[in-house]
Assembly symmetry: C2
Amino acid sequence: MTKDRVNDQVLEENQVAGNGLLDRRLFLKKGLQFGAITTLATSTTLATAKSETPKTEINPADLPWMKTPGEPFSIYGMPSKHEDDVVRYPSPNQVVPGNGVSWTPLHKMEGTITPNGLHYERHHNGVPQIDPKKHRLLIHGLVKNDLTFSIDDLLRYPMQSKICFIECGGNSNAGWNKLPAQAEAGYFNGMVSCSEWTGVPLSVLLDEVGLRKKAKWIIAEGADAFAMQMSIPIEKALDDAFLALYQNGERIRPENGYPLRLIVPGWEGVLNVKWLRRLKVTNRPVMARNETSKYTELQASGKARIFTFPIEAKSLITSPSAHMLLKEKGLYQITGLAWSGRGKVSKVEVSADAGKTWAEAELQEPVLDRSLTRFRLPWHWNGKQSVIMSRVTDETGYEQPERNKLVKERGRKGFFHYNAITRWQVDTDGFVSHVYEKDETQKDNSDISIDSDWD
Amino acid sequence: MTKDRVNDQVLEENQVAGNGLLDRRLFLKKGLQFGAITTLATSTTLATAKSETPKTEINPADLPWMKTPGEPFSIYGMPSKHEDDVVRYPSPNQVVPGNGVSWTPLHKMEGTITPNGLHYERHHNGVPQIDPKKHRLLIHGLVKNDLTFSIDDLLRYPMQSKICFIECGGNSNAGWNKLPAQAEAGYFNGMVSCSEWTGVPLSVLLDEVGLRKKAKWIIAEGADAFAMQMSIPIEKALDDAFLALYQNGERIRPENGYPLRLIVPGWEGVLNVKWLRRLKVTNRPVMARNETSKYTELQASGKARIFTFPIEAKSLITSPSAHMLLKEKGLYQITGLAWSGRGKVSKVEVSADAGKTWAEAELQEPVLDRSLTRFRLPWHWNGKQSVIMSRVTDETGYEQPERNKLVKERGRKGFFHYNAITRWQVDTDGFVSHVYEKDETQKDNSDISIDSDWD
């Protein structure tokens, strides 16, 4: 059996859209001879000139790790040294020290949970090293009783947990550029991560301080040297916001807000204020720098969008994706992530023929509210140039737009909230690159310089 | 407002079981004056002699981390240095080098996901350092085509993800001892952890090799120096077993099976063979050491239980738990974990009066099949000696037994599959310790020596 022997009839019978997209339930069917489609493994009984893998069982005596005892127990584990390329990609601002981002390597990951070491970072003046014993949260302003909470106080309250994504409003903003960014998928879209956050419902603490009638907004402030301030409508604060102490089972790490982070599910990352030290209840927003001159969007009309809180639905194929190399034609998994700040993902469609035909992808269960949702579809690549793309629809009925449509609606100076469909082109040599729609007619050819804008 | 001012009437109205157990929906109710029950925070407007927390907002100039820029970006994050006591607790076998366990610190964690650095370890001859490029999986035996898979081959197959627990069959075995173990909750019950595992369904690969008619068992073998072998019935292999490559989004770490681990959801940890190198399809079990002289249970009758695959339903209060100190009477969260190898958790009941009365705890949503399930209940501790305990019922209707019942059924030589209710006693000084039922009448007073048995 060689790796390129494929049963064309079985392939044909299971194709659900153009250019080799296969039934998402294909690998759930029992009794099908998968070998007819896959044949990725190497037969150990038939000699093949092509094979480089051993044709019989490897003798344990030939494996160094089976000949001697392994490494001892460790109090805190780390990834294998063979995975030392699976890291965040820091992109510090060259002009403003302590400012910038680091990207989650989405293209090297699977499933939906982001391990804590790889959650993306966005700081405005570095990561403060806070002593939790000295940290306090003050709630004051339009309340009946000002209250101060220590971390030990907060740890005694009944908690809630929620698996949800956090995405920076500026994620994927290279998409506004004239030419397609050629970074790996995660290093251009990886300012989104997903964790199980655990903490105290904000509504409980607001009930405890007692809101006054004029209370309309809450100003959240961080304990970093930037003293980040953000305004949040009181309705959201009372609905599902919470004060997280834990991320994926352990206490939040310093770069993600240790010891306390405000979580506002589905809303822009910047609102999920890290190192939270103060909540001031007010009757109007504070109009801080990051809700006026930044995190607002200049439109083609000359007016700017402001307080664009929810993250629009978005999806992205993470594999195959930019800079990957498909070594041979045959079976591949097309997989990626979809999410919406307005609720659950309803469906993800995939095309392998540049949008001519679409097939519905399998969604990893359970599909959770405001969480990253993994989608997967088997694909038989025939070795020809192909453009693959994904499109999400969320439970409100909103459908992810093509780039031309998004640019037509919003212009190209917006910088934030880029959520268009991403197209990956697989060339005949198997190399994958990022492309735009071909018939695009942009008048404004200027590029946004991303680095200088992350301040 | 002082911390011990509590509205007795509000407390009384919301009590749902004896000794201060409060309605699990208490903190979900809108409009209730939580301050009447909680008052954990310190008022900033009323001076109180007791308070050690600041009475007004802290001046940022007094916080060192707000005066200077923080730490730079990092490619892979780590927990705060202030959390350096949240670690696995290694318990290496003193006689057999490279053998033993390390425990997950459940008592210092929240939510349901175990971060990868804290997943428990169980090794028989250390952690092999495997080069993934040289690793192969062989599937042979009663099959039509022997096949060998490289890791790159496996990475091309359509994958599935499942959040599920893995528990060692020997977890909590100090429970068989005559006297209650006084280790922290995680260091006596923490050979259970929960991750999102992602990989290739075993059924797909078994279809590809083609099972012969006499195929009844699969012998899974690890690539460690111990060459662990375990027998798994073919029905389970075809049902929901899968070959995991990823754990919580990133590739599995060395101590948990890098680069390939067999996952058999809900079954004993030892069957989830790490460093998987071979699957031999046979017509009978291999009767290896770890399914005959170990991981079997001597009964009172003199007969032994063998092939006790599924993990029985179990629950445990992780906070308050052994060695914790409640500093004052008042509101606390009672929280813990429940799980079942036979499906979903249906309910968890909590008692604060040594089992006289019970109240149903809130379960963290979504409750997932064969996963750790977090439960929570608010409790007002009145400062008197109290025994708190939890009891799970799973979707099969099975109810977690009291210790006396379990010992009566199974004797005390079983060593494995201890899943009795755990009782924590809170003394008047707030110190928490582990106790057994008082009217216990054990004839056999000999203790099991745990360390010497972990080989």
